[in-house]
Each structure stands twice: as structure tokens, then as C-alpha cells.
Amino acid sequence: MSAGGVYCGYCGRARDEGDHGACARRLGVVDPPRFCAACARRMVVQVTPGGWTASCGRHGESRSA
């Protein structure tokens, strides 16, 4: 699941639909991804003091660096 997938990790809409500038400003600053970039499913996200994990039922887990 790359950050540059088909769907926006913040709003879940297709990346080629509309402007995601505001989404990008939130992601990584105050928000972890909530939607799978590959399929737009809502992910189960766990935020911890030092990072986050996000799990998509179809595409598996991603985590902060």
C-alpha cells in the first residue's frame, strides 16, 4: 500500500477526483491514514506514542516508519 495509491488515505476518495491538497496537509501532520490507498476500505488504525499501524482487511498492515 503505497502513499501514492489509487485512493486518498485521508478522505478515501479517488486520487484523480478533486483536490487532495488539504488531505495531504493533514496526513502525516495530525492524521494517520484511515483509508486503504489500494481499495479505499476503512482501516483499523492503532496510534501509539511513537507511531501507528493501519490494517486493511484485504491488503494487510502498513505502519509508520
Binding site: C11, V30, Q46, V47, T48
Partner: protein
Amino acid sequence: MSAAPEQTAPGGTEQPGDVLAEAGERVLEGGVGLTEEQVRRVLALPDERIPELLALAHEVRVRWCGPEVEVEGIVSLKTGGCPEDCHFCSQSGRFPSPVRSAWLDVPGLVRAARQTADTGATEFCVVAAVRGPDARLLAQVRAGIEAIRADGNPIQIACSLGMLTQEQVDELVAMGVHRYNHNLETARSHFPNVVTTHSWEERWDTLRMVRAAGMEVCCGGIIGMGESQAQRAEFAAQLAALEPDEVPLNFLIPNPGTPYEDYPVVEGAEALRVVGAFRLALPRTILRFAGGRELTFGDLGAKRGMLGGINAIIVGNYLTNLGRPAWEDLDMLEELAMPIKELNRTL
């Protein structure tokens, strides 16, 4: 320091004196917080007086709290699916928020506590999005605390699990929880606009039990939820009346799917005025920078807030939102020559 003379406006109408001069005498010299009316006047100060306000607030903080900063980390044990309707919260099950329910397992809790202790933090707060804890949640908290101790981690444990019964208060005390967080969130007069599924008074009852049981009381709120300046002053006065050990000061993060998703982020100068005003209302309290400071202040504010009355911070991420990396805040404290509070010492 003497108070500024009363000013008389043309026409003979008496005007109140300068509120920062009054604060110099009452708060800095006397250690007594400003009244609600005085806080309201502080919140009305023009932008050009913000540096003066922050300088005074910093002086008050150093005089009455000392130079140390308390560092804390927090983690969400049970995320999402909350039955309450706190309008700011992305974890309410009543709103179409993208946050999905999740439980953190005990090994995950131990890791989070270790990450927090490694930053030099003395406080680790375990939070759950619930109206109040049930037996399952309390069992998870108990298992988590035991596992954190078995890991050799001496960090102090705080909890934030919603409204409590007396029996649950007693259980938490027996587990060794030394501080309990339960925010009043906003002024009593504004609370019904923010939450309708329970009352401000119900929150107050939990705080009263927590205090009586000997746990430290952590109680603050969120700025930027449509409250007026007068209600901010009202909130500060109500917190002062509660005499909490700690007040976490959050700034609204407008989260998608919540009723407040389109609310504007609190403007930085406004937020600094609030920081200074709350310090002058609560001269002896731990005043903690918490959620939303990243959006509200950008790069400018953290340092100005720390030099404007704040004496505690949450480092790292919050419950569902991200914060600045812990090392950035720790570097900032080093640069400001602000020592971090040591474990088992109280501010």
C-alpha cells in the same frame, strides 16, 4: 509590584485598571489566580500585548510551579465505538467518522509504555473511548498495569476511562493508578452544545470521587468548540474552583465526520492568549500542552507556549491523531533549558 492606577475615561466614567498589572500583584506576588472577570479582560487584550502577557505567565509559572516540565505519553487502549456524542470526538459511534474500533492488546500497551518511558516521561496515560469502564475494560487495565510493572517500567500510570462509580474508583486506586483524567471539556454553560448524552454535573461527580479517593485529578478541556470568550473565562474559573492537579489544554482538531469537522482551527495568537490567561487563572497547576497544538501553532507556537505559562507536555502521538515526534519536543526543552521532571517527584 503595585497595581496600575485606575484609569478614568473622558467624561468621568471609571474604567478598570490594567489587568496585567493586577495580575502582577495578585497572581505573581500573591499566588492567587485571576477572577473570571479578570480572565475575561486578559482574553480581550490586543495582539500587541500578547508578549507581555506570556512573559508574565511564564514568570508566574516559574515562581509558583518551578522550572521543571512534566512529560507524558498517552495511548488509546480502546479506540472508537463510544456511545457518547461528544461533538469534537472522532471516536463516537454516533458520527460517520473514519475511525474504526480497535483494542490494544497487553503486549502493545507494554510497548507503548516503554516507548513513553524512553523519552524521559514520568507519566503514561491509558485512555479508553467509553462512557465508563465495564469489567472487561478494567480487567484489561489491570493486566496492562501488571505487565508494565513486570517489564520493569516504573513510569507513573494515569487513566482516562470516562465516568466512574465509587467501586471503580476504588479499584483503580488499588491498581496503583495515581492520576485520573476526566475533562470537563468546556464551560458549564456551553457543555450542552458539545455533549447531550451526559451532563457536566455527571463529570463533576466522577472528579469529586477521584479526588476523595486520593488520586490526583487531571481535568481540562478543548478550546475552539464554538465557545465565546466569556465562556472561556467561565471555564477557567470553573477549573480553578475544582483545584485540579493538572489541566490539559487541547485545541480543537476538526476531525472528519464529526459535527465540528468544519470548525476553524484556533488561530495561533488567540491560542497563546488562552495559554497565558489560563496560567494566570491557575498559577499553581500543572498546565499541559495537549492535542491540537501542531495545527494551531504550526512551528511558532510550541516554544512560545512553553515560555508563556505551560509546564507540561504530551509528547508523541495522541489517541487518534499524530503529534510532533517526541524528540522534537525534547530538543526544544533542552534548547529552552527547561529540565524534565524526574520520576516520583511532584511538581
